[in-house]
């Protein structure tokens, strides 16, 4: 299993816009949209965010994989809202959710993870001056996590296969105890290796 970012290669205007402006606009929109109650204004916002997602050049398949998980949640909310509050409040709620999710998706699709990490590091700088966080440790932790997701995934598969070979059904306790012990052992090795080289 590979951990692929959602970012899509591209050189459209949305891709070229600096990450910090996109993030700032997203946060501002996230706050602003909660104050709008007018259904036409929200429809406008929804259309704009849909256009922005389209402007990233995302393929229908990738888009659908992202939306699929959300559809049941949104449908349930829609039904709840229609039943208990009526059509208009339901439309307001759904348009707002759709607009926000679309905007955030447009940012995610058009910005490299490394650029977002860089914005995070810069955002952490004031906290670092206060002595609350160590930005380099955060960067190390992020890199380690990305490095070890495939390895822990492989351990999971190996333990699964070993147990299936012994005729055991999928059993969460029997699966997770060895997985965690392996993870802890690996953490100890990695920590010793880092200390030895620094």
């Amino acid at each position: 299993m590979m951990i692929e970012p959602l970012y899509i290669q591209g050189n459209r205007w949305l891709h070229r816009l600096p990450a910090k402006y996109k993030l700032a606009a997203l946060v501002a929109a996230g706050i602003g949209l909660f104050f709008i109650q007018n259904v036409w204004a929200l429809s406008g916002a929804f259309v704009v965010s849909g256009a922005l997602v389209w402007a990233t050049g995302v393929s229908a398949g990738v888009w659908w994989r992202q939306v699929r998980g959300l559809i049941w949640v949104v449908l349930t909310i829609g039904i709840f809202a229609v039943v208990f509050q009526g059509w208009l409040p339901a439309a307001v709620v759904l348009l707002r959710i759709g607009a926000l999710v679309g905007l955030a998706m447009a940012v995610t699709l058009s910005t490299r993870s490394s650029d977002l990490i860089a914005v995070c590091e810069r955002a952490l700088l004031p906290l670092e001056r206060l002595g609350w966080v160590d930005a380099s440790k955060v960067a190390l932790a992020l890199a380690l996590t990305l490095r070890f997701v495939p390895e822990i995934w492989r351990h999971y598969q190996e333990i699964r296969e070993a147990q299936a070979a012994r005729g055991l059904a999928r059993h969460p306790v029997a699966l997770i105890v060895p997985l965690i012990v392996r993870t802890l052992k690996r953490a100890q090795q990695v920590a010793q290796a880092i200390d030895a080289r620094s």
């Binding site: 970012y7 809202a81 993870s113």
Partner: protein, 187 residues
């Protein structure tokens, strides 16, 4: 914070990613599929303690926020945080902290087996369910403009699955702690 702590935080964040991505397990008599994401949160809190556990969850959320598909179903990106279930994600960090804080207080190294499991279970219920829903449900209600009572009703369907995960997490935490006691040495 020592190197070992940074590495443990990173590897447990990776473990939560893996648990989030394994296919959901259908349980008998429970209508919704159960993902192991919240099991990862409970385990991280119970084993790493409040500080490291909370930080591991924050790291996991940071990965999701910068657009990596680490949430169940391969989702990710900031959109999920602004969506109706965003509060449950933010609640996870608090949940791991509360689980860890309580587990450190309720479970002593000298505790008997059964008492340890019960201690971990109480910690997981308060953190992994209580704290997560404390943020998640009002968030859901405000994004969807549902009444709070109706939002509570809507999420009740997930509680049986969560209780199964509490049982698994407390049992696993106890078993692992017996073979790996060094985890308790730092915060």
């Amino acid at each position: 914070m020592k190197t070992q702590d940074t590495v443990l935080i990173a590897l447990f964040a990776a473990l939560i990613v893996v648990l989030s991505l394994v296919p959901p397990i259908p349980l008998p008599a429970i209508p919704v599929p159960v993902t192991l994401q919240s099991l990862g949160v409970m385990l991280t809190g119970a084993m790493l303690g409040p500080l490291r556990g909370g930080l591991a969850c924050l790291l996991y959320l940071l990965l999701a926020a910068i657009g990596l598909p680490v949430l169940p179903g391969g989702r990710g990106g900031l959109g999920v945080f602004f969506g109706p279930t965003g509060g449950f994600l933010l609640g996870m960090a608090l949940g791991a902290f509360v689980t860890g804080w309580l587990a450190r207080r309720l479970v002593r190294t000298s505790s008997q087996g059964a008492m340890s499991v019960v201690g971990y279970a109480v910690a997981c219920i308060a953190g992994g369910i209580g704290a997560v829903y404390l943020i998640g449900v009002p968030w859901l209600a405000s994004v969807t403009q549902m009444e709070l009572s109706k939002a509570i009703l809507a999420v009740l369907v997930f509680i049986p699955g969560d209780l199964v995960k509490v049982a698994v997490a407390s049992w696993v935490a106890w078993r692992v702690e017996r073979v790996w006691p060094i985890l308790r040495e730092s915060p």
